[in-house]
Amino acid sequence: MEFLSYLISGISLGSVYAIIALGYTMVYGIAKMLNFAHGDVIMIGGYVSFCAMFYLGLPPVVATLLAVLACTALGIIIERLAYKPLRSAPSLAVLITAIGVSYFLQNSALLIWKAAAKVYPPVIDGSAQLFDGQLKIPYISILTVFACLIIMAALSLFVSKTKMGKAMRACSEDKGAAQLMGINVDATISITFAIGSALAAIAGVLMCSAYPSLMPTTGSMPGIKAFTAAVFGGIGSIPGAFLGGLLLGIIESMAKAYISTNLANSIVFAVLIVVLLVKPAGLLGKYVPEKV
């Protein structure tokens, strides 16, 4: 029974990682950049929905929509101002700019919303009881898992079936060739950022509901973990991000429960290292042999 409850908290945590990782992996797949500001967009999404619910008294669904809108706009603005001018620059320059954006968002949030932690009002309360109340599953965990599954399915469909999705895949394979085929590469990258940021907003709402504390630095650690999850599953792969996130969450919970709460993160990272040594492109990533 204990094992089940640890497993459930692991799955719940893993689903949050997975949603964030999906955003990471989308952006990486197309723009080939590690967007370190992604975690901070999540934090902004959390704050926007918090303000909508707490100050304006809006229902959670409307607040989530507002957060999605705000983050999408933010994502597009960041992309235009900070990343687009660096399209032809070396990838490390973009990485450092992303870090600059991350600092900027954190410190803006500190000035706007102050340093004091806010307690996030849960979007749904209570828990389902199984086995005569011996096992309790918070509804928010169930919601997170389902949201994660729906988002993954929708993204997979979008990427494989729609015209825009095809354009994205083309850009991720070969930007030059895509451009020659009449695909607007700049617009495609912008849309990818918009989708990634919208996902970040949803992740923000779900993460803050499950772990109800909101600070300007709330996004940074989950951001790193989600990046790890995306690499774990094979960066650029949508099912990979989902699998990576879920496994990461479960490993973290189990490590905390059975080995050491002190070393939980280390164990997660150690597993990551071992997996990458065995499968150098992640669990579901494609290993592309270099041609001479």
Partner: protein, 393 residues
């Protein structure tokens, strides 16, 4: 591209203007026209994290100290202060930088830094320079070990651990206790260590210990589930209120309802924005400060703080507020004058620190040992209907 660049530069310029504009009103120097010969204006510096993850503590300390300085200057006594608060991001290196910046400014007395690690780093410098240092909130025992010129306003950690264990042994005999603490935090670890030692001596039954770190302080479901299955009916939380609020929320979601017992770091939980105070119903804590206290000074302080910053002050702000008044009392007792150097003031103040007794928001008749440790009584309170009440009342 050029336009974007130009726009960005313009934005920076505008921002810097704003920043400068707000900066000019910041130093709260006393009104000069009232200055007569007998009025002594000391340069008082403070340090704390104003940015980064620990910003709430530093901001509270700087704000609290500033309110005390403004009050003292407005009252127009013989001792007045010029105030300067600097950011250290809760980092030893940055804190030493902040201290050096303050020394360049001409600081004579210091009420800071805020966090333990930073205070130890600055303490070594202050001890070498002979600058008097009174930390409002750095509670580690290593802080005051830095030198004879380092003093604390808050309790030391062992003090709280022993106090909590004694209280539980006396009033809640037979409780099965779980401890959840933050083991990369000197404050939390320090209280936990003495709590466990004292619990062993007093026969308190500790059935589970769980830890977390800065990086894992969002999810406590595993620790709570383990505490629940270990049969704990009392959970001791020697941690700050922010992670504590998450623990209360998650315990509620899991349907786990033990008695929660906190320390002074728990103060502030009731005034967190968005916190459902019904979750804290029945939480017990040892705290030296309560924003609900009916006495006039506390009420005035809370009112001023709220008017200036839109928040209810926590114990960090109260400790810093007391710190400034303690410094004033010490300067008065030592008969210091503003033309004395920082080192001379330090010697004079160190000599009188063990003799003065100060009434503040965080305790009556506070006195100091030569080690730098404060002596004041912690108060056990229980939260009922969203307010602190005495448990026996």
């Amino acid at each position: 591209m050029k336009r974007v660049f130009a726009f960005a530069v313009a934005a920076v310029m505008a921002l810097s203007l704003v920043a400068c504009g707000s900066k000019t009103e910041q130093p709260s120097a006393p009104a000069t026209n009232e200055t007569s010969d007998s009025v002594q204006v000391f340069k008082l510096g403070s340090i704390g994290p104003l940015t980064g993850g620990a910003a709430i503590y530093g901001q509270s300390v700087i704000n609290g100290a500033k309110i005390a300085v403004d009050e003292i200057n407005a009252a127009g006594g013989n001792i007045q202060f010029e105030f300067n608060g600097q950011d250290d991001e809760a980092d030893g290196e940055k804190s030493v930088n902040a201290y050096n910046t303050l020394m360049d400014w001409g600081m004579q007395v210091m009420v800071g830094p805020t966090t333990t690690g930073a205070s130890i780093a600055v303490g070594a410098q202050a001890a070498a320079d002979r600058t008097i240092m009174l930390t409002p909130s750095a509670s580690g025992t290593d802080v005051i070990a830095a030198g004879d010129n380092v003093f604390q306003v808050c309790f030391t950690d062992p003090n709280q651990g022993v106090g909590s264990a004694d209280y539980i042994a006396e009033n809640m005999a037979g409780a099965k206790v779980a401890v959840i603490y933050k083991n990369d935090d000197a404050y939390s670890q320090g209280i936990r260590d003495t709590f466990i030692t004292e619990s062993g001596a007093k026969g308190v039954d500790v059935v589970y210990e769980g830890t977390f770190t800065e990086d894992t302080q969002t999810d406590f479901s595993v620790q709570l589930a383990a505490a629940q299955s270990a049969g704990a009916d009392l959970v001791f939380l020697p941690i700050y209120y922010q992670p504590a609020s998450v623990i209360l929320n998650q315990a509620n979601q899991m349907g786990y309802a033990p008695t929660f017992f906190g320390v002074d770091g728990m103060d502030g939980i009731l005034t967190m924005e968005g916190f459902d105070t019904s979750l804290a119903e029945g939480v017990m804590l040892l705290t030296p400060f309560s924003a609900d206290a009916p006495d006039e000074r506390t009420q005035n302080f809370v009112k001023t703080y709220q008017a200036q910053h839109g928040e209810i002050p926590n114990q960090f702000a109260a400790d810093a507020y007391d710190g400034v008044y303690i410094m004033k009392a010490a300067l008065e007792a030592a008969g210091c004058t503003a033309d004395m150097s920082a080192a001379d003031i330090c010697e004079a103040v160190v000599a009188v620190m063990t003799q003065i007794s100060v009434d503040g928001l965080t305790g009556q008749n506070m006195t100091w040992a030569a080690t730098g440790e404060v002596s004041k009584a912690p108060m056990a309170v229980v939260i009922e209907n969203g307010a602190y009440v005495l448990p026996n009342a």
